[in-house]
Amino acid sequence: MTRQSPVLLGAGWSAQSRASGVTPLTLAMDAAYAAVADAGLQMHEIDAVLCFGRRDGPGPLLMASALGLPTVRFFLEYDGGGYASNTVVMVGAQAIESGTAKNVLVYRAMNGRTGSHRFGGEQAQPIDVQGAGGQFIDPVGARAPVIGFALQAQAHMQRFGTTSEQLAAVAVTMREHAARNERAVMRKSLTVAEHQASRMIASPFHLFDCAIETDGACAVVMSTVDVARGVGKPLVSIRASAVGAGSFPVGGSGWEDESRLYSYYLAPELYERAGITPADIDVAEIYDCFTFSLMAQVEDYGFCKRGEGGPFAAAGSLRLGAEIPTNTHGGLLSEAYLQGLGHVCEAVSQLQGTAGDRQVEGAHLALVTGQGGHMGGAMILERT
């Protein structure tokens, strides 16, 4: 097999909403057709289909059938949430690099608000924790994903003096960015006072510290450098990637420092592989299931010192035009809950220079992350 250089060729979205009224398959297909069109390809040229999720959307074989793909040379359905968003893209790139496949479709689709699987709210909780983990989580009432992050945020507040008003600044900035994004579900302005007045969910988190629940899909198309040149698209490649975990707590065990996320362990490795420093990054698309998780990653990826993420956010440093424009699409907090693949799509738009009102001028290097607290993945994408 001939080794090929993979590139991210295009991005696409379905409509994002609170109630799609259509199936996750329809959402996935809408996103796939949009991404393939953006890539300048024809659907029949796609020969690999990858996705991730919690069995809340169509699998890759159903998608291949529904899209009428004549030949599928590689497929993967990764059982995972936000921490899988970068991993699946990395695997797609490896399939291209190895010659296993040529034109790769990666998607995430779900009715995250109206479907049977919800991550927040007072109804169904989707994650079926197996084995010992579940035995020590469910009887404590600790199954909801928010709880792990709330425990981490409280520890960060204790250690560094981080405040709820500083977390609010993250939410406010995400909303400002969403206002410039026609896809975003939450575009109405938000103030720190409104954040502070919103109901408590799991202390220290108010409602507006939490990602929104939405119905929608997005997709990325990857291919080779040769194909990209053929269709006249800019070359957006993965300069470096890393995936992994620090200490992984099950039922609270193994947590050496509760204020740390996966990125504390992963970021140095990512920068070393990329051969760049945080100051080289033009735009950051950072997984923001909660305000705190974004803030802590901003520290770990070196945009400010550890412990100073709160003041950094409160100073407006995450805004468009500021030190490090972060989540230019509005993120999970305001655009849509696409479990991190939306962050990859936005990075592709920024590096291809098609992000419209929210374009970071001359964006050349983008950081993209996806995470679940203790595990995650990140990529540095580069326009070459």
């Binding site: 989580i137 469910d138 009887p139 404590v140 928010v146 969910i201 609270g252 947590w255």
Partner: protein, 143 residues
């Protein structure tokens, strides 16, 4: 048919025990908090599993601990998916560090106090709450 709905009394969401964890839960049902201690490296561990995560040895004993600990971090819950916990809002989830080995930590509820008074480094001790006629569940209360 009558329109009377059957009233379901929510029960605490205990999960099925397995071969790795049965000794732990049997002791909890007796009001004893005990952990596996590795026979090779002597380290206590949580959660229960067949081999020591630190040295790989399968040999171990079940050692009761003092039940004293400290709150490392916590979160007060105002929202719950589970019906039993919904009836117990607001409730506190904490990471408790056990006195017997500061590296030994577990998620647990803090009970017997106003949730607003839970704080970092708070001294707590284990208590056991009845689940049904046979089973009990551990929690911690301030000392």
């Amino acid at each position: 048919m009558t329109g009377a709905a059957r009233t379901e009394i929510p029960i605490r969401p205990m999960r099925p025990v397995d071969a790795d964890t049965a000794p732990f839960w049997d002791l909890v049902d007796q009001g004893v908090l005990a952990f596996q201690r590795c026979a090779a490296c002597r380290r206590l561990r949580f959660y229960p599993q067949a081999r020591c995560p630190h040295c790989g040895s399968p040999e171990h004993s079940w050692d009761p601990v003092s039940g004293a600990g400290r709150v490392r971090t916590w979160s007060v819950q105002y929202n719950a998916g589970d019906p039993w916990f919904r009836e117990h809002l607001p409730y506190v989830i904490a990471v408790v560090e056990l006195e017997d080995d500061s590296r030994l930590r577990m998620l647990a509820n803090i009970v017997g106090c106003d949730p607003a008074t839970v704080h970092f480094d708070q001294r707590v001790t284990v208590v056991f709450e009845p689940v049904d006629e046979d089973r009990r569940m551990y929690a911690f209360k301030p000392t």
